[in-house]
Symmetry: C2
Subunit: 188 residues, 2 copies
Amino acid sequence: MKDAATSLGYALLGLLHQKEQTGYGLQRFFEDSPMGIYSSSPGAIYPALKRLEKNGLIEGTLHETGPVQRSRVYRPTAQGTAALRVWLTRPISRREIEIGMDELMLRFAFLGLAGEAAPSATRDFLEDFEQEVDSYLGELEHVRTELAAKEAGFHPRQALEGGIQTYRAHLRWAREARTSFEQGGPDE
Amino acid sequence: MKDAATSLGYALLGLLHQKEQTGYGLQRFFEDSPMGIYSSSPGAIYPALKRLEKNGLIEGTLHETGPVQRSRVYRPTAQGTAALRVWLTRPISRREIEIGMDELMLRFAFLGLAGEAAPSATRDFLEDFEQEVDSYLGELEHVRTELAAKEAGFHPRQALEGGIQTYRAHLRWAREARTSFEQGGPDE
DNA sequence: GTTGGCATGTAATTGGTTACATGATTGG
DNA sequence: CCAATCATGTAACCAATTACATGCCAAC
């Protein structure tokens, strides 16, 4: 089965699951929400929508919004929903922890769209996330002792420290999210 | 003047300022250090080195490492040093705070290479960073109240919370780094 | 003598960026 | 009537990814 390939693709697919929209509507949403990090320009969004449609994950229909003007409203297909779920429930890799944190957060933000699978997918996500981040933190701390031994300069050591603090924040977040999920109940 | 254009370009340029190296040596370094997030494959590194050389920022010389084998050792040119400093001391933009955190951390890690300008560049960097992150945090917190008002679902709210916690960690890092810099002295 | 590390690269594909281009509609 | 916003797109350029391809050298 085809997938949406890029973070932007999944961002669009997920947003269209919440509300069918036009390219312009999506563009507006990106502009004035923190999800803007996944896009920036119509030059990325329109081609991405075309690709999703070509791969059968979304479907666009023309609407007349005025006497002359037309707009193309997209909504997900059954295949699109299936592809989204595959992505939402896919295992978390070490590589994503290192360089794909943004996409992981995007996935989490959409995890509620996983239907019946959502509760267990949420638990799995948070557990795997916690474990992978913890393991990566161990490695970063090891590098830190190496840098100290090498008497590396202030700047690289401090930059590494920033990375460590950031991952510690991720770890705390995952633990709190898990608690909050178990207490508040999966729904709401 | 030409610049190194991409994060990978600057990563290579900075590393070559610390020690002249071959493409393979750089590849190794990326593989077993957290700087690996800036590269992954020879398919990125070798072309990037070629570009840097073409733009006059680095210079490669052939060395015979064996009877037959050769390796190309790169080192920065004067122009390369100048380009690096321009990049190191360039103002921090809002956009970089939102989506360019990795490159900002890379910059900080190399700030010691800014020569006489390093102490003031470090202070400027940390002050600007702190201010921009703080301002962005304000915006994220505003979005959080909006999401609460809209009674958005658990997952998006929690994902946003993760972003907020991460930026808070960045903020704490910058403050601590500043203190540590002023106390420990710029050198070492 | 063969495995694994040293060493360098290319090719195809893909997708993002910037900038441009066009026109309709709404509100003041 | 004019500005802003709605709405959709294209084109040139650039760089990364994956996978492939080649061969040397040292050590066991």
